[in-house]
Amino acid sequence: MMIFLNIISDDVLRSRLEELYHLYKRDLLYVANDILNDYHEAEDVTQTAFIKFADYLDNEMDVKCYKTKALIVIIVRNLSFNIYNQRKRKTTVNIDDFRDVICDSENLDPEVNVLRLDSSREMAKRLSEINTRYADILVLKYNYELTNTEISKMLSISEVNVRKRLSRAKKALKKVVERGGDYE
């Protein structure tokens, strides 16, 4: 009976992965190619993203949900940035340059946060414009509720890098919020 259920479960996961592939392969190729401007590398990144996502896929995941689509796009985008950085040997947007203008406290004032929730989409957009990967890592941590280990495996970066990136993302967000979306 258990073997039968396992087979069914495996078949369900396989069909989900197939569905995921056929639904999003063009989107992922486009996203990767948009960053790398190299079709072969974009194909490699797309493959890697599916391999990583296959481990994360479970029976409860809705393949057509926009959250699932966003997650695999985030994976592809970050993997593409990794390759891009290796290739160009430089960071995409060096948020570290802004460290000197970031306040001492890492936490935001809750009252300020509540007041500015209505403008969160704009804040997120600004954060993404400053450094897309900072916004991505916040999403993986707080929306997909992944651990640092899971994030490091998914994005092919070390756990130390995950912690650093999270910390910098929070500081960058704080700066964006303090300036009301006007980061410049």
Binding site: I3, N6, D10, R14, L17, E18, Y21, K25, R26, D27, L29, Y30, V31, N33, Y39, E43, T46, Q47, F50, I51, A54, Y66, K67, K69, A70, V73, I74, N107, L108, P110, N113, V114, L117, S120, R121, E122, M123, A124, K125, L127, S128, A135, D136, L138, V139, K141, Y142, N143, K170, L173
Partner: protein, 243 residues
């Protein structure tokens, strides 16, 4: 305490804010993709990517099947142990709770013991009562007093004398086919006539020694020994013929 509570509340609000920013970021990603749908549709998916996915799926299925098989293999000894345990418990419960089973199983052991007892008794009879004599037909004493056993026999001029003993005293049982004259010492003895299985005989008691003489249609018999009278008569009445 209040400071901790305040900090916890603050952390919760900040986390909620991060989530809100995250939700907005996801919406932005989807919106960005939607705005580029025309370009995405124009994107050509290379055949090599489709081929890779098919082989990846096959490999993944194989790997999962192998892992599932190994997992099941590891569970087999545990399953066997569980089955054996269940069978043992059920058998024990049935044996000791259902009367019919219990009687059958206990009877099996009892029957064994009874058979053993019977066999042992037969052996005792052969050793003690039925002498191993190289003659086709002869009489022997089927009943012997407690402690007596067959010791030896002698044949003198056609008279068969079988000797039984208890280690100290002896019983002589003599038989002779045809007529024979016994020369018996009856001085100061008590002699009385007696019937053994309807056949005439004489019981001679002198001190503690008893001699019983009787005859049937073709044989003369004699029993001699230091025994109670009733025991001697009982031996005579339980005489059997070997065939």
């Amino acid at each position: 305490m209040n400071e901790k509570s305040d900090q916890s509340n603050k952390d919760n609000i900040i986390e909620a804010y991060y989530k809100m920013i995250g939700e907005a970021h996801i919406e932005n990603i989807i919106a960005d993709l939607d705005s580029n749908q025309d370009k995405i549709k124009e994107t050509t998916v290379p055949k090599s990517l489709d081929n890779w996915f098919i082989s990846f799926e096959k490999e993944r299925t194989k790997k999962n099947n192998r892992q599932r098989f190994e997992k099941n293999i590891k569970k087999i000894p545990l399953k066997i142990a569980m089955i054996l345990l269940i069978v043992t418990v059920l058998t024990t419960a049935v044996t000791f709770s259902v009367e019919a089973f219990r009687i059958r199983i206990f009877n099996f052991f009892i029957q064994k013991n009874e058979t053993h007892t019977v066999i042992e008794k037969q052996n005792s009879l052969n050793n003690q009562s039925v002498p191993n004599i190289d003659i086709d037909e002869f009489y022997y004493l089927a009943y012997l007093p407690q402690g007596y056993y067959y010791e030896k026999y002698t044949i003198i001029d056609g008279e068969i004398v079988i000797q039984y003993s208890d280690g100290e005293n002896a019983i002589l049982f003599s038989q002779y086919e045809g007529s024979i004259n016994y020369q018996l010492d009856t001085e100061d003895a008590n002699v009385q006539e007696i019937l053994i299985d309807g056949n005439q005989g004489h019981l001679i008691k002198k001190s503690e020694r008893i001699i019983l003489v009787w005859f049937n249609s073709d044989h003369n018999f004699l029993i001699k020994g230091y025994l109670p009278v009733d025991e001697v008569i009982k031996m005579a009445e339980n005489m059997e013929k070997n065939k």
